[in-house]
């Protein structure tokens, strides 16, 4: 076994040296991994706890980071009010903008946890990590977010170590991994991204979302809330673009896309889209599989 990296707990090194393997695989997944020639080495994990505030990431951005923050980048679009100067309360200007500092902070936490898991697997001499699970959740009410990435480190019996010694990773395990290999897709890594878009509503969006009386002739019939709809499309597009930028020509399988909207009142909203899946690389031409046999289960 290689030396344990300095930033890993000493116990991790002892655990791998003990002889018995640990894994989070279910029995069917365990059996399928053995069938594939994968030898479990140990349960590997990476954690990172980040301070998590919706605003002020990087300390250079105020609550109006899109206007004043020097480091914000990414997509934005403006929604000027069609009514002109009405009153001080009138929302004369709206904007949809990507909150790049939130995306960067998420990326930093996720990459740190992922890197630590891979580091642990590398130190155990693993070729890959299967059955990866990851989560990012608030840790109590401390205003912090904990990133967790865990999986089972495996070695390919009689197989060669991956390029650069860095183990491949996949959310798959068991029969699904076996099928993926059989069809010619080698796991490269998990891929994940978070995109964040803020909707700073202009007057029309506020009226339509809140059902308030505009007095400007709007709301006479069902009308599309175009600003929010475009923000929803954008947050999903940005997440997909970010994942594509991680693929380097490989394919992305088994994606899971989850979008959450946080209503902030008066039509304002914050959208966050999490996209994760498996980055795979074709290592042989596609073997056509036999047509699946329809079956009826008897009970």
């Amino acid at each position: 076994m290689a030396d344990v990296p300095a930033d890993l707990p000493e116990a991790a090194g002892r655990r791998f040296a003990d002889g018995a393997f640990t894994s989070a695989l279910t029995v069917p997944d365990f059996a399928a991994c053995l069938q594939l020639g994968l030898e479990p080495i140990g349960y590997v994990q990476g954690f990172c706890v980040m301070q998590w505030r919706w605003y002020g990431m990087g300390a250079t951005f105020g609550p109006f980071g899109q206007f004043t923050g020097p480091g914000n980048r990414g997509w934005s679009e403006n929604w000027p009010c069609p009514h002109g100067l009405v009153s001080a309360e009138h929302r004369g200007f709206g904007q949809n903008y990507e909150q790049s500092w939130i995306e960067d902070a998420w990326r930093q936490g996720f990459d740190a946890a992922y890197g630590r898991m891979v580091e642990e697997a590398t130190s155990a001499g693993a070729h890959g990590v299967v059955g990866v699970v990851d989560a990012s959740e608030p840790l109590g009410d401390l205003g912090v977010l904990e990133f967790r990435v865990q999986g089972t480190a495996v070695r390919v019996v009689g197989g060669r170590a991956p390029a650069g010694g860095r183990p491949w990773t996949t959310y798959l395990a068991g029969q699904r991994l076996a099928k993926s290999i059989e069809a010619g897709f080698a796991p490269v890594s998990i891929a994940a991204a978070v995109s964040s878009v803020r909707v700073w509503a202009y007057c029309v969006t506020e009226y339509l979302t809140e059902g308030s009386s505009p007095g400007w002739g709007y709301q006479v019939a069902a009308t599309e809330i175009e600003q929010t709809a475009r923000a929803h499309m954008a947050v999903r597009r940005i997440a997909r673009d970010q994942v594509r930028s991680q693929l380097h020509g490989d394919s992305f399988h088994g994606a899971s896309m989850v979008t959450r909207q946080r209503e902030l009142g008066q039509g304002d909203a914050e959208l966050q889209c999490t996209l994760r899946g498996n980055r795979v690389r074709r290592f042989k031409e596609f073997d056509p599989l036999p047509p699946p046999q329809p079956t009826v289960r008897l009970r």
């Binding site: 979302t209 069902a222 009308t223 899971s256 329809p294």
Partner: protein, 293 residues
């Protein structure tokens, strides 16, 4: 070897699988070639299909291309949820328009990536007091080997890859999503009627009628949408129904499903094999079990 080879699964030979895994490891031990690293070339593909679904698609000659989505939010005019009679037309209209706009957008994304259709569409629809939100996320697919935009109309379907493959194998094709929604007031009972029924378990005819009315209107709209697509019928219909959380006197009923049409000369029967699973249901540990009864 078992004494009953007919009971053995039809899975791959374990020795072959191990060779495949070693071949994959060998491939990954080499640095990725510059430019496109996947054999077979083409743009990087993204898909939210499971491995099983993807293989089911391949088995009938289709392949995933890109993850696509469509979202729309429509406002519901203020005051429409107040007490009234009959259908709450603006809410039903908002739902239908939001669905149509979201479908149009996922259609456009599918066309842009050269897809022939979208399968496995996850549909999220929420009705709020002042707006309806509809989000569709799925995977654009095309026939294996086809290039460029398709001349055939694009379909959007919430059928899984497995269901799409089964449908295809039996000679049918999906045409699109059909949607119907209706929101109806449950009319007030008279004061006398309310007092009379207060201590009795009797039918609340106003609610029964409202449910009937909403259900029939929504199903009729879905059916009409199927006919407009020149479909034979609708499969995998999902319905939601019940009083609205923010207006308990209003009943909502929504229904959507995939419109299908027979394209083969006639339906091709699948003739499924019967299997008797020998696996037990997953037994989970229960902490109380260690104390005994």
């Amino acid at each position: 070897m078992t004494a009953h080879p007919e009971l053995e699964g039809a899975g791959p030979d374990p020795a072959v699988l191990k060779d495949e895994m070693r071949a994959a490891a060998e491939f990954l031990s080499r640095p990725p070639p510059s430019g496109r690293s996947s054999k077979g070339g083409g743009a990087p593909r993204t898909s939210d299909l499971s491995v099983d679904e993807e293989f089911a698609l391949h088995s009938v000659g289709w392949e995933p291309i890109q993850l696509v989505c469509g979202v729309s939010l429509y406002s519901i005019p203020m005051g429409v949820w107040n007490w009234g009679q009959g259908e709450i037309g603006p809410a039903s209209t908002a739902y239908a328009r939001a669905f149509a706009a979201a479908t149009h957008r996922i259609h456009r994304e599918c066309t842009d990536v050269g897809g022939r259709g979208v399968v496995g569409v996850h549909i999220e629809s929420e009705v709020h007091r002042h707006h309806v939100d509809v989000a569709l996320v799925g995977t654009a697919v095309r026939a294996v080997g086809s290039k460029g935009p398709s001349a055939d109309p694009v379909f959007v379907s919430d059928l899984s890859g497995r269901d799409f493959a089964l449908l295809h194998a039996s000679g049918w094709e999906p045409l699109g999503l059909a949607v119907g929604a209706s929101f109806v007031y449950a009319p007030r009972r008279s004061a006398g009627m309310a007092i009379k029924q207060k201590s009795q378990n009797v039918e609340l005819a106003n609610f029964t009628e409202a449910m009937y009315s909403a259900r029939e209107s929504a199903m009729e709209r879905m059916q009409r949408a199927a006919l407009e697509m020149d479909g034979t019928g609708v499969v995998e219909v999902k319905v939601t129904e019940g009083p609205m959380g923010f207006a308990r006197h209003a009943i909502g009923f929504t229904a959507y499903g995939t419109v299908v049409r027979l394209v083969a000369g006639r339906h091709r029967p699948l003739r499924p094999r019967m299997v008797l699973p020998v696996d037990d249901p997953v037994v989970r540990f229960e902490a109380a079990a260690i104390r005994g009864k």
